[in-house]
């Protein structure tokens, strides 16, 4: 008789793994990818492919060089690559995309110890890095219908720049300028609902984030159209559903998620209305990432029956 395995309980476990969770996120991003291909054409797919391949290769080579266990099969590098690409404008040079993806993976994630250990969202930090490093190409947003001409994004218009604001319907379906994956609020919403239904993310952060932005921009001058345009444009939906819900860099408690969402909303609105950048989603999430350990500690669950020592 073969030896019996002795191991601590429990002896069964859920079938979910990091890989299956990341696969769910990838599935949830498919509507946004398809929307970007329809809106911006094939070149969007080239940017996405470059970003994903660079991200995965960067992680593979990093692990290889450092003699670490290979982690690419957990698909998290694919997710980072996708999210970064969806935050880039369609005309971004492919080499810049690759540099951004490598930065996201190597500097923001791997150097901090790999998946789960990074304190900042890799895709967001990568985007901010690119915004500083390649500011001219990063801010030249493309209007889908006349793709050679750079135009002001809806947010820039909302912020007071010359230009025409697209209708709310156009903003919702994505018929407007902006980054690849952020323009179609509708496609992102479909993906977000999928993630909620699959239990991958919780409702607290996306809802409080979007609601905070809505309420704050509404009370500025009680213009419902202005507030709606604010929540439908820029990177709010992709940020709220896909970036502010990243496990490693956001609080793991229910109330922590609420605080995180409200904080992101507040910073986003402050930057949009008073800052010199038209968009504040990336910065708000990065700033809140830094506060995450504290928020997590403040909002800890109270043990059932626990008595204070």
């Amino acid at each position: 008789m073969a030896k019996l395995t002795v191991s601590p309980s429990p002896h069964i476990a859920t079938a979910k793994t990091t890989t299956s969770i990341m696969a769910d996120v990838i599935v949830a991003l498919i509507p946004a990818i398809v929307a970007s291909a329809i809106i911006f054409g094939v070149k969007s797919l080239a940017v996405i492919a470059t970003s994903v391949v660079s991200a995965v290769l960067a992680e593979y080579i990093f692990n290889l060089c450092c003699g670490k266990k290979q982690t690419v099969k957990d698909l998290s590098a694919v997710v980072t690559g996708l999210l970064l690409a969806l935050n880039l404008p369609a005309n971004i040079p492919l080499w810049q995309t690759a540099v951004g993806a490598v930065f996201s993976i190597v500097v923001v994630k791997c150097l901090f110890g790999g998946i789960g250990q990074n304190f900042a969202n890799p895709a967001i930090t990568g985007r901010i890095f690119m915004l500083i490093a390649f500011s001219s190409t990063m801010t030249a947003s493309v209007f889908p219908k006349a793709d050679v001409v750079s135009t002001a994004t809806p947010l820039a218009v909302l912020g007071g720049q010359e230009g025409e604001l697209p209708s709310l319907v156009d903003l919702f379906i994505g018929n407007c300028g902006g980054a690849l994956g952020e323009v179609s609020a509708c496609a992102l919403l479909v993906g977000g609902i999928y993630l909620l239904a699959r239990g991958v993310i919780k409702w607290q952060t996306p809802i409080t984030y979007i609601l905070t932005v809505f309420v704050l921009t509404f009370i500025v001058d009680f213009d419902i159209n202005f507030a709606l345009a604010q929540i439908l444009s820029g990177g709010l939906f992709i940020g709220a559903f896909f970036m502010a819900t990243d496990y490693a860099t956001t609080p793991n408690t229910k109330w922590g998620k609420v605080v995180f969402g409200i904080g992101c909303g507040l910073i986003t609105v402050l930057i949009r209305l008073f800052g010199s950048y038209p968009e504040g989603v990336s910065f708000s999430i990065l700033l809140m990432n830094i506060l995450t350990p504290y928020i997590q500690k403040w909002t800890r669950t109270k043990p059932f029956g626990g008595v204070r020592a």
């Binding site: 019996l4 395995t5 191991s7 309980s9 859920t14 982690t71 043990p303 059932f304 626990g306």
Partner: protein, 440 residues
């Protein structure tokens, strides 16, 4: 009051033996009866090699305040008293009896007349009853509350929340009358006016049966519990039945509650009415390696291999064998291990089911936090344990962990969270011991 919901996990039920009446196995050739199948001081052997014993004879006497007696489960000859290593890792004395195959019942087995409270507690002690839900705490100690007016409610645990296990289900269905008699004894001797039977709602047949049996008993209510593991956890059960929170360091009786497993109650009732102590156990034998899963009644001390043989042996090589269910059960290293009082199932997994989940890096998903029924923070405990930070572990209340397994079950990255909690509890205990020494 019941103001918030306790979390847990939705485990697969896998209760495919629920409709199978328990079958008694033939007398085994040898039984190995450990003298410590309970929490507390081991019993003291009162037999020696060569003695003849019959079913129900006392072979181990309770020692000290927290202990339980042990009885012969077969008739035959005591071969020897020897040390055995239990799956818990403890080495204990065990009485090894060679069976004569006749299962002759001892003359000492005769009905007991119970005059009052003291008598009742004594009878419970003599029955050998221990917490049969798994904990193995001597029942007489639990029931001996001195002042019975402290008891606001007795909760009969019929939750049976672990996957696979249906032995309590069979007890409730086939021995409902014994449970009724047990409840009547509690009403009479502990002067309890409120008895609640908690049953998870995935067992509608048990809920129906218990409601029928207690239809005319005003003191007894049957409470349908949500089908979320772990309803059978003592603190969870108390909260979900009477809405009381047992504070840290306190006992259920401090909030007026006594929790007793339905099968434990049956043992007490049987002992008082017939004189037969706890010598056999109904267990569920199941798992992917078992040929014919079924419910079995076997003498305590029967070798696991005899029980599996009775269930048609193995259809594939067993790779892991558990005392109890897959959430809290203890893995055994040897099929010669004996059946213990507090076992309610034997689960044998084939190599596929025994394969542990791959352990990858924690991604801080927070599922362990969301699902902990006691609202602990397993991921924070793990981090504090990695730093060997006993003070932080005390703040995180790792000592409250009941090791139900929800966190490790739900973890997508296969972290051994329960095991870390156990080690962390040990670390905190050591730390306090040292501190106590330094201060004292």
């Amino acid at each position: 009051m019941h103001i918030f919901k306790l979390n847990g996990v939705h485990v697969p039920h896998l209760k495919k033996t629920a409709a199978m009446k328990a079958v008694r196995i033939p007398a085994p050739q040898t039984v190995i009866i450990p003298l410590s199948m309970h929490i507390g001081t081991p019993a003291q052997a009162v037999v020696k090699a060569g003695d003849t014993v019959r079913v129900g004879d006392l072979i181990g006497q309770a020692e000290g305040n927290i202990s339980a007696p042990v009885h012969a489960s077969v008739s035959g000859t005591v071969k020897k008293i020897d040390k055995v290593v239990l799956a818990s890792g403890n080495t204990v004395d065990a009485v090894i009896i060679e069976s004569d195959g006749l299962m002759t019942v001892s003359d000492s087995v005769k009905p007991h007349s119970v005059a009052g409270y003291e008598d009742f507690i004594a009878a419970v002690r003599d029955s050998g009853a221990v917490g049969l839900g798994g904990a193995g705490f001597p029942t007489a100690v639990k029931l001996d509350v001195k002042d019975t007016s402290r008891i606001k409610a007795v909760i009969i645990n019929g939750a049976e929340c672990e996957p696979y296990i249906t032995s309590d289900t069979r007890t409730m269905l086939d021995d409902a009358d014994w449970i009724r008699k047990g409840a009547e004894l509690l009403e009479k001797h502990l002067r309890v006016k409120n008895i609640i039977i908690g049953i998870e709602k995935n067992k509608p047949e048990c809920i129906k049966k218990m409601r029928e049996v207690f239809a005319n008993d005003k003191a007894v209510t049957v409470k349908e519990l949500p089908s979320v593991y772990p309803q059978g956890g003592e603190k969870v059960l108390i909260y979900n039945t009477i809405g009381e929170i047992v504070p840290e360091g306190k006992l259920p009786i401090d909030v007026g509650a006594i929790v007793i497993n339905c099968t434990t109650l049956l043992v007490i009732a049987k002992y008082i009415e017939t004189g037969m102590p706890l010598v056999e156990k109904c267990i569920t034998v199941d798992g992917s390696a078992v040929n014919e899963p079924k419910n079995v009644i076997a003498p305590i001390g029967t070798k696991l291999s005899d029980i599996f043989d009775f269930c048609g042996g193995f259809k594939s090589e067993p790779a892991k064998v558990l005392y109890g269910g897959p959430m809290m059960g203890i893995a055994v290293s040897d099929l010669d291990a004996p059946l213990l009082k507090n076992n309610n199932a034997l689960i044998a997994f084939d190599s596929k089911d025994a394969e542990p989940k791959e352990n990858t890096a924690c991604i801080n998903c927070g599922k362990c936090v969301d699902h902990c029924p006691l609202r602990l923070n397993p991921v924070a405990i793990s981090k504090a344990f990695a730093r060997k930070d006993a003070d932080e572990l005390s703040v995180l209340k790792v000592n409250l962990c009941m090791e139900c397994g929800c966190c490790a079950y739900i973890c997508p990255t296969g972290q051994p969270l329960v095991q870390r909690n156990r080690l962390a509890k040990e670390l905190v205990r050591e730390h306090h011991k040292k501190e106590g020494k330094n201060n004292g």
